[in-house]
C-alpha cells in the first residue's frame, strides 16, 4: 500500500483503491466478471452510510466514497473496504421489484428517435418495440438526481451520444447512449439521445426516501399515446414487487 493507493486480489482479478483528495476514495473492481464487480461495489457503497461519511457513488464497476477528512483518512477507509470485501458482504438486491414508466415515444417528446433509428438501421417503431419489450435492469441511480441508469435494450450497435450536450434536457426524458438507458428524473444538461418522455414523477424530495427504486430493480417502459399525458402527469412512479 502506498500513501494514495492499495490493491487487493478478488476472484478473477483485483480491487484497486485510490485516494481522490483527502475527502474521497475511489474503488475499482478489475475483473472479467462484471456481475460480480457490480455486486462488490454496491456492497462496498454501504460504508458511505457510516458516521463521518457523506455517502457513496456506485456505478457499474466502481464506487466513490466521500467523507469528512477531519474524521476519516485514506488508510482507515482502505481498512474498512478490505474488511468488507474479506467478509464477502456484497450487494444482494431483492428480486422481482419493477418500476412502471409510461412513455410517449418520438415527436416532440423524443426528438432523437428518428435519427437514432436511422443510425441503427431500424424503423422507429422497431426501436420503440425493442426499448420496451423487456424490463431493463437498473445498475445505478445517478445524476441528475434520482435518474435510473440501466442496461440498454437489445440493439444492433451502441447508440452515439450527441455531438455536444443539450444545455437543458426536460425532466422525464427517456434516453439512450452506448449500451445503456436512462430516464432523466430532473432537468439537467445532457448528451444522451432522447427517444421519449414520461409524465410520472420519479423523485420527490419531500418524501422519505426521495427515490423508491434501487440498483437491482427493473424498469418496465410502457408506451402510451400522447393524449394520455395528463392522466399520468406528476403521478408518483409505481413500483410493483
Amino acid at each position: 500500500m502506498t500513501e494514495v493507493m492499495d490493491e487487493m486480489p478478488v476472484p478473477g482479478g483485483f480491487l484497486r483503491i485510490r485516494a481522490c483528495g483527502e475527502a474521497a476514495t475511489l474503488v475499482e473492481v478489475l475483473t472479467d466478471d462484471l456481475e460480480m464487480s457490480w455486486r462488490e461495489v454496491h456492497g462496498i457503497a454501504v460504508i458511505g452510510d457510516a458516521p463521518g461519511f457523506f455517502g457513496a457513488v456506485a456505478t457499474y464497476t466502481s464506487v466513490l466514497i466521500e467523507y469528512d477528512p477531519v474524521i476519516h483518512d485514506f488508510s482507515e477507509v482502505v481498512g474498512m473496504i478490505r474488511s468488507r470485501v474479506a467478509a464477502g458482504r456484497s450487494y444482494e438486491p431483492k428480486p422481482g421489484r419493477r418500476v412502471i414508466v409510461p412513455v410517449v415515444y418520438g415527436g416532440k417528446w423524443g426528438p432523437d428517435l428518428e435519427a437514432v433509428a436511422d443510425e441503427l438501421e431500424l424503423s422507429p417503431d422497431e426501436l420503440v418495440r425493442r426499448h420496451h419489450e423487456r424490463p431493463l435492469l437498473i445498475r445505478a441511480v445517478v445524476s441528475p438526481a434520482g435518474s435510473p441508469m440501466s442496461e440498454g435494450p437489445d440493439l444492433p450497435a451502441p447508440v452515439q451520444r450527441q455531438n455536444s450536450p443539450r444545455p437543458s434536457v426536460l425532466a422525464g426524458s427517456v434516453a439512450l447512449a452506448g449500451r445503456q438507458a436512462i430516464t432523466y428524473a430532473t432537468s439537467s444538461p445532457g448528451g444522451w439521445r432522447l427517444i421519449g418522455r414520461t409524465p410520472v414523477q420519479l423523485i420527490n424530495p419531500y418524501h422519505s426516501p426521495p427515490v423508491i427504486y434501487r440498483p437491482g430493480d427493473l424498469v418496465q417502459y410502457l408506451p402510451i399515446a400522447a393524449d394520455r399525458w395528463d392522466e399520468f402527469l406528476n403521478v408518483p412512479v409505481e413500483l410493483r414487487d
Binding site: 475527502a23 457499474y60 466513490l64 466521500e66 441528475p144 438526481a145 434520482g146 424530495p205
Partner: protein, 329 residues
C-alpha cells in the same frame, strides 16, 4: 424569542447551509455553501452550530432590518458592513440594535459573503438541509420586501458588554483575491500525463465566464494525456480537476454531476475548495502540489482552529449571562 427580519435589499442572496449528505445513493448532490470555511466561521462567530442556516450573498450586497437586537457576523470576501451607517468589522461578532439598518456592500476580491445570525432562520429544510438545489426545485432565495423569521434562544443582546468590542475571538481570516493559490493532491490519473502533468503546477489558469456552481472552466496550457483509452464513467469528488479532450480544465464544484468519464489529474484540497467557491471569472489560479497527508493535516488544523473560535465565542457569551450556546461540531 421570535424575531422578524425585513429584507430591504436582497441582492443575490439565498438561505444556505453546509449542504445535504448521505444522499448520493439517490444521485442527489451535496450543494451547500460554496466557501465552506467562511460559512463555518460565520456560524462559529455567533455561537451557532456549524450546520445552521445562514445567508450566502453572491456578488451583490444585502440590507435588512430586524425588530429585535441581533448577534451577527459577516465573513467571506472583503466587503463593507454598516449598522445604522457606521462601518463595522467583518469576521467578528457584532450586535445590531433593534430597528437598525444592517447593510453589506461592495463584495470584492471574491464572489461571496456570508451573514450568520445567532438563532435559527425560519426556512424549511428539505432532505436535512436548506441548501438550494435547482434540479430538485428547492431552496429559498431572498426577495426585496420579504420578512424572514428568526428564532433565538436569547431574549436580548443589548447587554453593556456587547455594545463595545469586549472580545474579539481569534479567527483566521484568509487572504482573498487573484492570483489564488489552490492546494491540490495528485489525482488518480496523474501518471497518465507523464512529464506534462507538472505543467499543472507551473502554469497560470484563468477562470472563464461560463463557470458556475456545477464547475469552473479554466483557460491555460492544459497537460496532455499520453494514454488514449476511454475512462469509464465513475463517481467524482468535489474539487476534482478534469482534463477533457477540448483542452480546457474543468474543476468540479459542489453542484457537479456525480459521475464523469474525463481524466482526473488532481483534486483540490478541502481548503482549496473553499477558495474555488470565491474565484471570480477573470481571476488567475495557481495550483500548488501537496501530499495527501499534508492535505488531510491542513483540513484537521483548519477545523480545530474553527472549533477554538466557536469555543471562545461560547465562553464569552456565557460570561455575559447568555447561556445555552451551541458550539460547532
Amino acid at each position: 424569542m421570535n424575531a422578524e427580519l425585513t429584507i430591504i435589499k436582497a441582492g443575490w442572496s439565498v438561505v444556505q447551509d453546509l449542504g445535504r449528505t448521505g444522499l448520493s445513493q439517490y444521485g442527489i448532490v451535496r450543494g451547500g455553501a460554496a466557501d465552506q470555511y467562511s460559512a463555518r466561521a460565520a456560524n462559529a462567530l455567533v455561537g451557532n452550530a456549524a450546520m445552521q442556516p445562514l445567508i450566502e450573498c453572491t456578488v451583490q450586497g444585502l440590507a435588512f432590518v430586524a425588530d429585535v437586537p441581533l448577534l451577527m457576523a459577516v465573513t467571506g470576501a472583503p466587503c463593507d458592513v454598516r449598522i445604522s451607517d457606521a462601518i463595522q468589522p467583518a469576521w467578528c461578532p457584532l450586535v445590531a440594535p433593534a430597528g437598525s439598518l444592517v447593510e453589506l456592500r461592495d463584495i470584492r476580491h471574491g464572489l461571496r459573503a456570508y451573514v450568520a445570525l445567532n438563532g435559527l432562520i425560519d426556512v424549511a429544510s428539505v432532505l436535512g438541509s436548506v441548501a438550494p438545489d435547482a434540479g430538485l426545485g428547492i431552496g429559498h432565495a431572498l426577495i426585496d420586501g420579504e420578512c424572514l423569521g428568526l428564532t433565538s434562544r436569547f431574549g436580548n443582546f443589548s447587554h453593556p458588554a456587547t455594545g463595545i468590542p469586549l472580545f474579539l475571538p481569534r479567527v483566521t481570516v484568509p487572504s482573498f483575491g487573484s492570483p489564488w493559490t489552490i492546494d491540490v493532491v495528485d489525482g488518480p490519473d496523474m501518471d497518465d500525463f507523464g512529464e506534462s502533468g507538472a505543467l499543472l503546477f507551473r502554469e497560470d489558469y484563468v477562470v472563464n465566464p461560463n463557470s458556475d456552481t456545477v464547475g469552473l472552466r479554466l483557460t491555460g496550457t492544459a497537460p496532455i494525456r499520453e494514454l488514449n483509452d476511454e475512462i469509464v464513467s465513475r463517481g467524482v469528488a468535489i474539487g476534482s480537476i478534469e482534463v477533457p479532450p477540448s483542452g480546457e480544465l474543468l474543476v468540479l464544484q459542489r453542484g457537479r454531476m456525480l459521475t464523469a468519464g474525463y481524466p482526473l489529474i488532481a483534486v483540490a484540497s478541502t481548503s482549496g475548495q473553499s477558495w474555488l467557491g470565491q474565484v471570480i471569472p477573470g481571476d488567475t489560479l495557481r495550483f500548488r502540489r501537496g501530499t495527501l497527508n499534508d492535505a488531510r493535516d491542513a483540513a484537521r488544523r483548519q477545523r480545530t482552529d474553527l472549533d477554538k473560535t466557536a469555543q471562545a465565542v461560547a465562553t464569552a457569551l456565557q460570561s455575559c449571562g447568555l447561556t445555552g450556546v451551541i458550539t460547532s461540531m
